[in-house]
């Protein structure tokens, strides 16, 4: 991962300020207070899911790690759905359980090891094959591997990551903004409660940005 583009910026520093209303505080508090053990997945699926999340959104930066597998488990436990099912995919919980099993089965077939035991390069190669629809083991059943990859794996894991305040800080998103909102709308303008960006070309700008970002409330 490249260096931090918004050094020292933390969306959560605004938590008690004018950009967060009570509903938002409760929402994010609940999101951060997450159970670390699986309820929806069994132990084997949980290991596979952990390894999968690490490949879809590798977390190598300095910011706190986002518990992706736990967030996905919590969502599936809650029963919240997309509101529809593509005819080529089973219901989301079933798709996930079967898909994780099939990833392991593919891994066993190719490498005689489980998915989470593969090297990173082997994992990536296997995932690319699934993304291309180039996966053949019986464990997939009538579920199309490529559909599972694009409409469940990528969709759900990426949505979990970018629902977490850590990711907002990382990309310099202003985050929750009610009731205060924003004032400066033009190019290259930021409100004092928005993230200051470090410019690659200017080494001093990282220090300046960090100073600004520590003041964000």
């Amino acid at each position: 991962m490249t260096e931090d583009r918004y050094p020292g910026y933390d969306v959560l520093s605004k938590q008690a300020g004018l950009s967060w209303n009570e509903a938002t505080r409760r929402t994010i508090e609940q999101r951060l207070d997450i159970r670390q053990e699986p309820q929806f997945f069994d132990a084997g699926q949980w290991q596979t899911l952990g390894a999968l999340c690490d490949r879809i959104v590798p977390q190598t930066g300095q910011r706190p790690t986002v518990p992706l597998a736990a967030m996905l488990d919590a969502r599936l436990t809650s029963g919240r759905t997309d509101g529809f099912r593509r005819a080529k995919l089973p219901e989301q919980g079933e798709a996930w359980r079967r898909g994780l099993g099939a990833l392991d089965a593919e891994s066993q077939r190719l490498h005689s090891r489980r998915f989470h035991e593969l090297s990173v390069a082997q994992q990536d190669a296997l995932l690319l094959a699934v993304q291309r629809g180039d996966a053949t083991c019986e464990a997939w059943g009538d579920m199309a591997p490529a559909e599972f990859f694009s409409h469940r794996v990528l969709l759900d894991i990426a949505a979990a990551y970018y629902s977490h305040p850590s990711s907002w800080s990382e990309v310099g998103f202003g985050g929750p903004a009610s009731p205060r909102g924003y004032v400066r709308m033009e190019f290259d303008r930021r409100d004092p409660w928005e993230a200051a960006e470090a410019l690659e070309a200017d080494p001093d700008s990282a220090l300046r940005a960090e100073r600004e970002n520590r003041r964000v409330r």
Binding site: S78, L155, S167, F173, R180, Y182
Partner: protein, 561 residues
């Protein structure tokens, strides 16, 4: 029938709006006050009201308000909760999915439609609670697209009459817009001044000018100055996830308070399951609905279905009887047919400058050039494009969906968030009888058969999309954006499954939204659109509802109701 029926399953953090009905005991939520209430008139189930309306969005909400103000007795049912935005809405993409219709549905066809946030709402106020507030008029010729432009079908409505109702809707919604609108016949000034442009909107303007096209500030249903109890928009940018300040002029904040004040009853968390018809007369007698743990039946002299293009045909089809074996109002066989969505492809790119497109309403500028230009097209129909401002989850969904990115590459790409810009189209798709809403065998949490939504793009649709992608690509490039890429697979608004028309053989309802087959059954939402045009539909739905109310008043006065 069902032990545990919630409006939406899930672990939402905030409020009890989804747990039990709020509008009961002679009062309804005051949407402008934390914990507030306003008095509400109530009707007994066995008291035949003049109108029971299923759905309180752009169609049903508007109609409920106007009919109540005209003195009719009105009960409006909504399957969703009655939110108070000030206390119930978080600034959060995930929590706010509680505004969407997430009950089970099946999608198929060559181009399955992604259901959810962009084409549904499950709340009092319907999808206007989370719409992008874009409030556009149809191009006049679209009301006679067959005879004037050679495609689709003509509407039984005259654009000159619609122009009057558009103006009325714009006044009621305090639309903020430009002084003069660059396209189409003259229209009055918008009631509120246009909003300030953000950088993302400036990029659209720059690109359009370099292409030689006109652009303008998008007419928006969020106030640029105080109006009533609505404060001016603070540009927080979460518009499509519910406006937490009430600057947005939605059915929830505009039509519902007026409806209540005029004596309408609004029932939240009330899911309609079946319209009852009298076996001998064939007339509608009321609606079976599920609320607070039990199935109930509201008697009514007229039934209005306003559930939008999936739920409306679903309810009509599910209400079949031995007299109407193919569903209600379906002599033409067109209930559930001619489903239309709108193409919603985009081109995205990156600017050298900081843009921070999360600030402000997402679509502050628009070019309708290709809605009004008919030359040099290899397709029928039109499209517009607007500036964009996706929040992080929406944005990553573009990166994973359109480009299949994951891993290091995905995270790196996402760090350019504050420099991204985009142009997104709203394009006209043509009506096609093979695009349908039908009943599947699976049932939902109420025990009702779920909808199967089948959709495939036509060759014309594909040509229009390619044209638009090329045009947006050129525009963004001329504006100075680099790293351009295309999002080729996205759709939004729905229409068309209970079309209006000139006769009973070729349409479901007449110009007044009254069904041909059952004279006290009406449909008032986007389902009645014979064609869908290249602009967002909400203002047209509301204008039609205003007209329908006037027509009902006139018909009643003549004893023709």
């Amino acid at each position: 029938m069902c032990a545990d029926v919630r409006a939406n399953a899930g672990d939402y953090a905030v409020g009890d709006a989804l747990d039990r009905p709020r509008a009961t005991g002679g009062r309804a939520p005051d949407v402008f006050r934390v914990g507030g209430w306003v008095p509400m008139r109530e009707f007994r189930d066995d008291e035949a009201v003049d109108f029971v309306i299923v759905g309180t969005g752009a169609g049903g909400g508007t109609l409920a308000c106007r009919l109540a103000e005209m003195g009719f007795s009105v009960v409006a049912l909504d399957a969703g909760p009655y939110f108070r935005p000030l206390e119930d809405f978080a600034s959060d993409e995930t929590e706010q999915t509680k505004l969407y219709w997430l009950d089970h549905r099946i999608t198929d066809g060559a181009n399955p439609i992604t259901m959810g946030g962009k084409n549904s709402g499950k709340a009092v106020g319907g999808s206007t609670v989370h719409f992008a507030m874009v409030s556009l008029r149809f191009r006049p010729e679209w009301f006679r697209s067959r005879s004037a432009l050679g495609y689709g079908v003509d509407w039984p409505l005259d654009w000159r009459e619609m122009w009057k109702y558009y103006a009325a809707a714009e006044r009621a919604l305090s639309i903020s817009g430009p002084l003069t609108y660059p396209w189409g016949p003259k229209r009055p000034r918008y009631p509120y001044r246009a909003h300030e442009l953000n950088a993302a909107a400036r990029v659209l303007a720059l690109g359009a000018e370099r292409q030689g096209y006109r652009w303008t500030e998008t007419p928006l249903a969020t106030v640029s100055a105080p109006h009533g109890r609505s404060p001016p928009c603070v540009y927080r940018g979460f518009c499509r996830f519910g406006c937490a300040t009430n600057a947005k002029q939605s059915a929830l904040t505009v039509w519902m308070p007026r409806a209540l004040a005029a004596g309408a009853e609004i029932r939240d968390l009330a899911m309609a399951g079946r319209i009852e018809t009298d076996p001998s007369t064939g007339l509608a007698t009321g609606v079976h609905y599920y609320r607070d743990g039990e199935w109930r039946f509201q008697r009514a002299r007229n039934v209005v279905v306003a559930g939008y293009a999936v739920e409306t045909p679903r309810l009509l089809l599910a209400s079949q009887t031995s007299r109407f074996p193919d569903g209600l109002a379906n002599r033409s066989g067109l209930v559930g047919r001619n489903l239309m969505t709108q193409s919603n492809q985009a081109v995205f790119g990156r600017m050298e400058q900081e843009v921070r497109w999360y600030k402000g309403p997402p679509s502050l500028t628009i070019s309708e050039h290709w809605n009004y230009e008919d030359r040099n097209k290899d397709f029928f129909g039109g499209y517009c494009w607007m500036a964009q401002g996706p929040l992080p989850i929406e944005w990553v969904t573009v990166q994973t969906g359109a480009r299949g990115l994951w891993g290091e590459r995905l995270r790196e790409e996402m760090t350019h968030y504050n420099h991204q810009v985009g142009l997104k189209m709203v394009g006209e798709m043509l009506p096609d009888e093979r695009n349908t809403v039908t009943l599947a065998d699976e049932v939902d949490q109420y025990g009702l058969k779920v909808a199967r939504v089948t959709y495939s793009w036509s060759d014309n649709d594909k040509r229009l999309i390619q044209h638009a992608l090329d045009q947006m690509h050129e525009s963004l490039s001329l504006a100075g954006a680099t790293h351009l890429f295309r999002q080729e697979d996205d759709t939004n608004h729905l229409a068309g499954t209970a079309r209006m028309g000139f006769d009973a053989d070729h349409s479901v309802v007449d110009a007044d939204c009254r069904s041909w087959d059952i004279r006290n059954l009406w449909v008032c939402d986007g389902s009645v659109f014979p064609t869908t045009g290249g602009v967002n539909p909400s203002l047209t739905i509301q204008a039609i509802a205003l007209r329908t109310a006037d027509r009902i008043r006139d018909l009643a006065a003549r004893g023709e109701l």
